[in-house]
């Protein structure tokens, strides 16, 4: 049996919210969840606001520290607070391309940052790496001299994808990366992600609330509700026969068979 790329065991997170009387109170943002992700697979995490999906995404990428549980990457446990180790394995595409790109840096400098901070390559090698990734996401090498405010939203999100590709990670987490985009731009970025998955064997963890796109794009789905994992299944099984009633309710709301005033 091959070792899965990512195995998460009983991962949970609680936030400290103050004192009540003499006891410390906590808010359990994420109850213990476990799942497995293999190479080349796409896992979708679905839920509403406050369901803990962003917390889970942040814990996986290393922006937050987990309370309990362990994360095993190719069989080895990931350390609690080691962003330098984490950033070479799991990277993130942020939601809003307008705020996640530093407005004062050129795109080339932006893409150079991960290399500068985490690797020992010299300037020529870094430049070659940046050009290579720009080409991969469909931009020209000349774009490295542009500033973020000069390019459109779709191109900005491509830059965000390029930045996520920078240290050649194996897993990319897209935290609602497509919700801020128009329809056609969304499809272009999705096509780009699909193409990259085929070329480079990436795995994706997709956090979203748009069930339509998730159905097309992901292999496995995990539904979260108020911090608890309510259902976990492959895409086919979930959409054809949802088990939990919360999942059934979600599917009903987004039922898209051209209902007029449904």
């Amino acid at each position: 049996m091959t070792i899965p790329l990512l195995r998460v065991n009983e991962l949970s997170k609680r936030f400290y919210t103050g004192y009540k009387g003499f006891k410390r109170t906590y808010n359990q943002a994420l109850h213990p969840v476990s799942f497995v992700l293999n190479r080349g697979e796409t896992l979708a995490i679905v839920g509403e606001a406050g369901s803990g999906k962003s917390t889970l995404a942040r814990i996986l990428v290393g922006a937050d520290v987990r309370t309990t549980g362990e994360i095993l990457f190719e069989g080895e446990a990931l350390e609690l607070r080691n962003p330098k180790q984490r950033c070479k394995l799991i990277r993130m595409i942020f939601q809003d391309p307008n705020t996640s790109l530093n407005p004062k840096l050129t795109i080339g400098a932006l893409l150079d940052e991960p290399l500068k901070f985490s690797t020992d390559l010299d300037i020529k090698e870094r430049k070659a790496e940046v050009t290579d990734k720009l080409r991969k996401v469909g931009l020209l090498p000349e774009h490295a001299d542009f500033y973020p405010h000069m390019i459109s939203a779709g191109m900005k999100q491509r830059v965000a994808v390029a930045r996520a590709l920078m240290l050649n990670p194996k897993i990319i987490i897209a935290d609602e990366a497509l919700t801020a985009l128009d329809l056609s731009v969304r499809s272009q970025i999705l096509n780009l992600l699909l193409k990259l998955q085929e070329e480079m064997g990436l795995s994706y963890i997709f956090v979203s609330h748009n069930l339509n796109i998730i159905r097309h794009f992901s292999d496995k789905i995990m539904v979260l509700h108020k911090g608890e994992m309510v259902e976990k299944a492959t895409t086919e099984n979930l959409f054809n026969s949802p088990q939990h009633e919360y999942t059934q309710r979600l599917l009903q709301q987004q039922d898209l068979r051209n209902h007029k005033r449904g």
């Binding site: 922006a63 950033c87 942020f94 705020t99 996640s100 407005p103 004062k104 901070f117 985490s118 779709g154």
Partner: protein, 296 residues
């Protein structure tokens, strides 16, 4: 996959060039810039081109009117004061003092304030809080009052004015830097940089600083105009530069006795102070408008 058509004339203007173009489109800002450059040159070369020395007294030409008045002569271009000293030469010598010392004060406060502000801005928690509250307490005292307090402790004289106004200006730089850095740290690209594996120093220098330079530049121009006014005010009150010194504020105070008979001894140095502060403010304002569309 995307079709790019680059329609621009070929080059993409860098940010500094764009800022310069916006700045230069504003005629007032450009005029202010010329005036500031002229003042800088005067501050450096003034004593060399002055026709007379600052203390030279001509007993034959007491209280001579400026040259455009019927009673004046061209040799004493802006007239003389009650001791026969040429006002024009004293202005040039004084530029060196008022303007030059103001620049020196601001540069020093800037460096010290920047260092303290960045350290406190990058820290989180109790330590940062204590430092910033301490400096807020200092900020509550008006800068002129603070300078007078320091001079009262250390005694009058231009050297002590340097320390006084410097101490009065530093909290403003610390506060501005601290605020700007603190605000930048909330931004999402800082989070992204942390996830890229950057440590605090790298985040500070590569990610936060490019966005903070604007605030610092604007604060510097405000500081220069405040420093000029404070130095002149202290000189006027005889707490700064002392009597025979050609510092502009001291010149005003020496001329106050003769204000009715020879108003030019007061208005001309006052006008020089006004022009320099106005020029600095125009430049600062122009910079702020040029930088703000980039921020939006």
């Amino acid at each position: 996959m995307t079709q790019i058509k680059i329609y621009q004339g070929g080059e993409i203007p860098s940010l500094t060039r764009k800022i310069w173009h916006t700045f230069a489109d504003n005629p007032f800002a450009l005029a202010g810039l010329w005036a500031v450059v002229a003042l800088l040159l005067l501050a450096v070369f003034g004593p060399l081109i002055a026709p007379y020395s600052a203390e030279y007294q001509d007993p034959r030409a007491l209280l001579l009117a400026p040259s455009w008045d019927a009673a004046g002569t061209v040799e004493h271009f802006l007239g003389t004061d009650d001791l026969g000293r040429d006002i024009f030469s004293r202005l040039l010598h004084g530029a060196h003092l008022t303007f030059g010392v103001a620049l020196a004060i601001v540069l020093t406060s800037l460096v010290i304030g920047f260092i303290i502000g960045s350290i406190s801005g990058m820290m989180k928690g109790l330590k940062a809080s204590i430092l910033s509250h301490l400096l807020d307490a200092l900020l509550s005292i008006p800068s002129l009052l603070m300078a007078i307090l320091v001079v009262a402790v250390m005694g009058p004289g231009l050297d002590n004015v340097f320390w006084a106004v410097g101490i009065a200006l530093t909290p403003q730089f610390v506060r501005a830097t601290h605020q700007a850095i603190h605000e930048e740290l909330q931004k999402e690209y800082v989070k992204a940089a942390k996830l890229d594996g950057a440590n605090m120093i790298q985040i500070f220098w590569y990610v936060v600083m490019p966005n903070v330079w604007d605030t610092i530049i604007i604060q510097t121009t405000l500081g220069i105009s405040a420093a000029i006014l404070d130095i002149a005010a202290l000189g006027f009150l005889n707490l700064g530069a002392q009597a025979p010194s050609p510092e502009w504020g001291a010149m005003v105070s020496q001329g106050v006795d003769n204000i009715l008979t020879a108003p030019w001894t007061v208005t001309i140095p006052g006008g020089a102070i006004l022009c320099s502060v106005l020029a600095i403010n125009l430049v600062g304002d122009g910079l702020r408008s040029a930088l703000s569309p980039i921020n939006n």
